[in-house]
């Protein structure tokens, strides 16, 4: 059942990315173009997501276990360290260069766009390099 849920959640997430147009790097770059011609849409996507996920998370976070798994596995990291900041800076730079972050990048493979595919391959190399360090 876990596997079906994973597939289903991926599909729903992907549909959300299409409806919100976040699958389109031009929309993301429009949001990051704060000092030029600004497109605030991405902020509304985040607000939309948070007003659903946050209250529901807090409502159910003390449940003993999830419905289809034996336990919750949720990060309990609290440290604000150098890795968090440096990683976020590097990610922000890459996001601003291409207008893609991991979710939309992978979703846009569906469109068989060569640029998306090149980005995703490079991103997986990035994951691998991070694993080596």
């Amino acid at each position: 059942m876990n596997k079906l849920v994973s597939l289903f959640c991926g599909i729903i997430f992907g549909i959300g990315l299409v409806i919100s147009q976040m699958i389109n790097p031009a929309k993301v770059l429009g949001f990051l173009n704060l000092f030029g011609e600004w497109d605030p849409s991405l902020a509304f996507v985040m607000i939309g997501a948070l007003i659903v996920s946050s209250p529901l998370f807090h409502l159910f976070k003390n449940k003993e276990k999830p419905i289809f798994s034996s336990s919750f596995s949720i990060s309990n990291k609290k440290e604000i360290d150098k890795k968090l900041i440096i990683g976020s800076i590097l990610f922000g730079a890459g996001w601003g260069l291409a207008g893609l972050c991991p979710g939309p990048a992978i979703s846009s493979i569906a469109l068989l766009n060569m640029s998306s595919i090149i980005f995703v391959i490079a991103m997986f190399f990035g994951f691998y390099i991070a694993k080596l360090t």
Partner: protein, 139 residues
């Protein structure tokens, strides 16, 4: 600053759907969605490998299913500069793994949980993203 191309209704609607996916993954499978984590764990870890793969397959099928049922063609506009794509991809892959999350993992799942760590990550990558676009416009 001037505002253009703003699509608040579709942005909010899509966002609600994304939030619902995050909630379902949490309450059913007990995990928080973070696409960079799911994708990199699929690559490097045996734990939950099939689950992670299926989530990624779902991400790719989402747009196809949407197109099929609405008969709408999805148009995207993306750079074809190899420098931006490969440089951007490497930075996104490396950076998200070093910081432990991306727009979904820190920006949505982490902030949902009121994680200070994720709030700081999100503010940081947004500021740097804005500055990067500013630099691109100047150069």
């Amino acid at each position: 600053m001037s505002i253009i191309n703003f699509t608040p209704i579709s942005a909010l609607t899509g966002g609600l759907i994304i939030g619902f996916s995050v909630f379902l993954f949490f309450i059913l499978n007990g995990r928080m969605v973070g696409v960079s984590g799911i994708a990199s764990n699929f690559l490097i870890s045996k734990n939950n490998r099939i689950d992670n793969l299926l989530f990624l397959v779902g991400l790719i099928f989402g747009p196809l299913i949407y197109s099929y049922f609405t008969s709408q063609k999805i148009e995207i506009s993306i750079t074809n500069s190899l420098f931006l794509l490969i440089g951007g991809g490497l930075l996104v892959g490396f950076g998200t793994r070093i910081s432990g999350g991306c727009t979904s993992g820190h920006g949505i799942s982490g902030i949902s949980r009121f994680s200070l760590r994720s709030m700081i990550a999100t503010i940081t990558f947004m500021i740097v993203g804005v500055l990067t676009v500013l630099m691109k416009n100047i150069l």
